[in-house]
């Protein structure tokens, strides 16, 4: 009996270590590929100039158009989905609590979370045609917001559900309304978690290519107007990888490296901000 238990324990330990190796190993290999292939092509001009000779064949210039475009697209979409997602999550948690409506909304958001972004792209494009918009920064932001919203809303919903119910009661007992309790108590209590939800959505948004392909388009210019097309890093990688020119393909890896570094910087910044927000959290 005890021997069987021992064997069982060993088997599961081996399986867990194997999973860990697969996960960490594949991540490490991705990073290694990006760094090894991208670093040689990365230079100051890549970061500070727009492409020369066109994004598809140009060996000169840089990807500043895509860097600024991605920041504008994902930044705008994240701000919008933060505002909308927080409203949805607070509504689900404070006003609709356990109603059938709340369950339906949660189910819908879970389905939306899993829909491939190319479908959002197609839907966003239809929406833009209807609104009379052409491929533009604004169109891209609207579509990316739709991609990010289910992530933000559901993640925040789960985070707020973790706050002890007694905390709400403490606020209600002082005569606070549900809205006051939501704003002044729940948002503060769950601040670090809400920020993590935003980070999750930002990561998806900044790395998404398919949803912005038709809606934001692509351009060699910097994004200076909401009504003009905007470039993005994932599409830069996509176009550069697709050329027959080896130098440009190397630049694709440099673009991917830049994207990875941007995500890393955002993650570290969020971490430190989270630490500061944790000061007042009640456990």
């Amino acid at each position: 009996m005890s021997r069987l238990k021992y064997v069982e324990e060993r088997i599961f330990l081996v399986l867990m270590v194997a999973s860990l190796v697969i996960v960490v190993g594949s991540l490490a290999m991705i990073l290694a590929t990006v760094v090894v292939r991208g670093l040689p092509a990365l230079n100051l001009a890549m970061l500070t100039q727009t492409p020369r000779g066109g994004y598809y064949l140009g060996k000169e210039g840089g990807i500043l158009n895509a860097i600024t475009g991605s920041l504008a697209l994902a930044g705008g979409a994240t701000v919008l989905s933060f505002v909308l997602g927080l409203a949805v999550a607070l509504y689900l948690q404070v006003f609709a609590t356990d109603t059938r409506l709340a369950h339906t909304i949660r189910l819908a958001l879970d389905v939306l979370w899993g829909i491939p972004s190319i479908v959002y792209g197609a839907f966003g494009f239809t929406l833009m045609l209807w609104m009379g918009l052409r491929a533009s920064l604004l169109g891209g932001i609207i579509t990316l917001t739709l991609v990010e919203l289910p992530i933000v809303a559901r993640a925040m919903d789960e985070v707020i559900a973790m706050a002890p119910f007694e905390l709400r009661e403490a606020s209600y007992a002082l005569g606070a309304t549900r809205l006051e309790t939501a704003w002044r108590v729940l948002v503060r209590q769950t601040g670090p978690g809400l920020l993590t939800a935003v980070l999750l959505a930002l990561g998806r948004g900044i790395g998404d290519a398919a949803s912005v392909l038709f809606t934001a388009g692509y351009t060699d210019r910097l994004p200076t107007s909401l009504m003009r097309p905007a470039a993005s890093l994932p599409l830069a990688v996509f176009f550069q990888l697709g050329t027959p020119v080896p130098e440009v393909r190397a630049r694709a890896h440099a673009s991917a490296l830049v994207l990875t570094i941007i995500i890393l910087i955002i993650s570290i910044a969020t971490r430190s901000l989270t630490g500061r927000l944790k000061r007042h959290v009640i456990r």
Binding site: P164, L167, E169, Y172, A173, L174, G175, R188, V281, R283
Partner: protein, 252 residues
């Protein structure tokens, strides 16, 4: 009897099909301490929480009957529930400070009611922290997180926070049961001081505590009011057999 703070008339509470309070009718005297005693699960906490409309926060609860406070039924449709909860404060069994600083915890209520001037808030925070007996321990770190306080200090902070909205009634739900003996004693002596200005209703499991503090005693058994009267009479000369049995420790 002195003037009455709360008139409870035919109050019933049910969770789903299970009725936990039956036809409670009793007057709670003003500026006295009334203790609700009774065995576990007899509805003490439910009764207390239904006096400030906090009982209804539980899913599937139904409350019917009247609780008349200041001439008005707190369960009347036109009554503002936030107004009821402001004027009838509740101190919970376990302290839950709000996720903010000590100062902001006490200022939370006054700010809800539109007080913004720093000087006014400063005065309220100091006065209520003194009333709760916490001022000397925290006056140098008012802006530190409330979560860093000990649990006994947290309970006094919750008392100060509750007092800051200037309620007329204080409902205390076994407020010392999570505390160490010294902290419990501090809370007790504060409540005894506060009864000069506040009507206090407390739930307690500890009969000795009820003997020490209560002016009136209300004995609940299986959701029914069995006996009610001045503490001396109920403790020394109970009229009902069930009260006698409970006080003698025959059941808990």
């Amino acid at each position: 009897m002195e003037d009455t703070a709360l008139q409870i008339r035919g109050l019933n509470v049910a969770y789903g099909d299970q009725q936990v309070l039956r036809d409670i009718t009793v007057d709670i005297p003003a500026r006295q301490i009334t203790a609700i005693i009774g065995p576990s699960g007899c509805g003490k906490t439910t009764l207390l929480r239904s006096l400030c409309r906090m009982a209804e926060l539980v899913e599937g609860v139904r409350v019917w009957g009247q609780v008349i406070f200041d001439g008005k039924d707190i369960y009347a449709p036109q009554t503002e529930v936030t107004e009821v909860r402001k004027r009838i404060g509740l101190l919970a069994q376990r302290p839950f400070p709000l996720p903010m600083s000590i100062y902001d915890n006490v200022a939370y209520g006054p700010r809800l009611y539109g007080i913004r001037q720093r000087a006014v808030l400063d005065e309220i925070v100091e006065r209520q922290l003194r009333a709760a007996g916490l001022w000397d321990e925290v006056k140098d770190r008012l802006h530190a997180p409330a979560s860093a306080l000990s649990i006994g200090q947290q309970q006094r902070l919750c008392l100060a926070r509750g007092l800051a909205v200037e309620p007329e009634v204080l409902l205390c739900d076994e407020v010392t049961s999570a505390l160490d003996p010294l902290s419990a004693q501090r809370i007790e002596s504060r409540l005894l001081e506060l009864k000069a200005n506040y009507t206090i209703v407390m739930v307690t499991h500890v009969l000795r505590q009820a003997r020490r503090m209560a002016d009136y005693v209300l004995f609940l058994y299986l959701g029914e009011l069995v006996e009610y009267g001045p503490a001396g009479e109920v403790f020394n000369n109970p009229r009902q057999a069930r009260t006698r049995a409970y006080l003698a420790g025959e059941f808990y």
